[in-house]
Amino acid sequence: MIMQTIHKILRAGPILLLLGLAPGMAFSMDSSDCMACHGEPDMVGEELVIEALGFDHTAHADVGCHACHATITEDHPDDGLTPSKAGCSECHDEIGEEYGASGHAENAGCSDCHNPHRALGPTAVSGHDMNLQCSACHERADMQTRHAEWLPQADLHISMLPCITCHSPVEDFVISLYIIKRQSETLFGQFKLASYDELAALAGDKPIQELVDTNADSYISLAELRMFNLDSENKQLRLQGMMTPEVVHHDFRAQDDRWDCSFCHASGPGAMQVSYLSLAERDGSFRRVAVEKGAVLDALYGTPDFYMVGSTRSTALNYVGLVILAGGMVMPIGHGTLRFLTRKNRRHEEK
């Protein structure tokens, strides 16, 4: 942990240096000055506008505009100079190295997938949004056809997993539960990830978190999950579970161990203990609320739409099944024993 922190500080060295030098350069323009113009499409045009709502909560906003656009002067834009843009790998050097060595680097640069003014950490992005980055190049229908050649229920896997679950060397996963909403009141309307505005409209005066977290303690208990899933008022809402990575790697080659279904499906219920409710925020990011440990293993109404065969089996149901099977053995064992003990009776003439 300490080493990671030191590495982060070293990686951010150039930026910190610039920030340290900035006062010495008597440079008084700060990010809010930049946003005064770049937050307004009327002033800078659609191409140069930065949406404040999405930018303000990124780590890039924390380091400030000058960290990446270092050559901007007090006279911008009247000086006629084009501001410099820092290369991503100046800070994200390890990621740059990993990505550079992968086949993807030949076809796409960082900004083809990431908007630096909206860049968020993996836990603040929904699994659906992660896949939007991939599907910009890898057309979904084509991917489905190619995966269906070897992967059972390819369409289900592609909808319920971020691509990087198998196409990066991630080992650490959690179950993220997203609220999805039926898009029309009709019986067969499609379900889609509920936006902040949709959830806010449903929550009314309350924070959207309280749609599930009814006691507002920022912790979703199994009882609250069941209540949400059984509440008839929520019939247009469902909880969709996705197995999402906790960290992101940028080597997007398919991992050898992911060809074998057992990587996920034989990980056992022990690996399925941690889950979060992931809620859409106003700025387009997602915020996680902790869910009771082991909730996704509940037999019926904890997460009725999330089941990973082999991994999220319910222990309670296993016992019920065992009792049923034992019931089937009553006749062979009980009757069989008496049959053996009374075998002499059947050697004589039948009565």
Binding site: P152, Q153, D155, L156, S159, L187, F188, N229, R238, D260, C261, S262, H265, A266, S267, G268, D298, A299, L300, Y301, G302, T303, P304, D305, F306, Y307, V309, G310, R313, S314, L317, N318, V320, G321, I324, L325, G327, G328, M329, V330, M331, P332, H335, G336, L338, R339, T342, N345, R346, R347, H348, E350, K351
Partner: protein, 218 residues
């Protein structure tokens, strides 16, 4: 005086259905153990092989069910006669047969039921097979078909209550079918010899002892 006679009890389509069903259900049970407990059970090469075999076996059972239904409903047209317990079966027959299995069998008495092609099942068999063939097998097959391809039939899955409820129904019904299998195989050995009831399901012919003078024998 007892004389032996042979009755053609199990026609060929029924025998094909029965053994196809048996093979399918046993394969389903064995693969299901690996599918549910993959980190503990490794009977098949890999998880995908177990799932594919389970799916194929499920389709075989569904197909054999269709064969059975078609034969009894449309060809021999004897489905109700063979499988539906009569009023007499329910009022007297069930108790008489239960008494045989649970008491008089141990005393060495004869089975009170004498099969004929039109009445080949005793009242307990009729009731059990009615539940198995008209409720259990169709429901296990339908839930299994839904689970085989979830995405296109998602609305049907939601109607059931969700994937987990569907899995729970499939799992518990499958356990019940497996439990029935234990009892079924055991009861099949209760003939005069352990193979006496099993052989007719292979050859079609059952050997029956008939008392030619039931009232005259002293």
């Amino acid at each position: 005086m007892l004389s032996k006679t042979k009755i053609y009890l199990q026609p060929t389509p029924v025998r094909i259905w029965h053994w196809l069903n048996a093979l399918g259900i046993i394969t389903l049970c064995v693969t299901a153990v690996q599918i549910r407990f993959p980190e503990h059970v490794h009977l098949f090469a890999n998880y995908k092989a177990a799932i594919l075999l389970h799916n194929v076996a499920g389709l075989v059972v569904t197909f054999s069910f269709t064969l059975w239904f078609t034969y009894y409903a449309f060809i021999s047209r004897s489905m109700l006669k063979v499988y539906l317990p009569s009023k007499d079966d329910l009022q007297v027959g069930l108790l008489r047969q239960a008494k045989f299995y649970l008491l008089t069998y141990f005393l060495g008495w004869k089975n009170p039921h004498h099969p004929t092609p039109e009445n080949k099942f005793n009242p307990m068999q009729k009731s059990a097979y009615l539940a198995i063939m008209f409720i259990l097998v169709p429901l296990v097959s339908l839930t299994g078909l839904l689970l085989t391809n979830v995405s296109p039939m998602r609305e049907l899955v939601l109607m059931v209550g969700g994937l987990k409820i569907l899995i729970a129904i499939h799992f518990l019904l499958a356990c019940s079918l497996c439990a029935f299998l234990f009892t079924h195989v055991y009861l099949a050995t209760l003939g005069k010899t352990p193979m006496a009831y099993i052989k007719p399901m292979w050859t079609g012919w059952e050997e029956e002892e008939i008392d030619e003078h039931p009232h005259g024998a002293a």
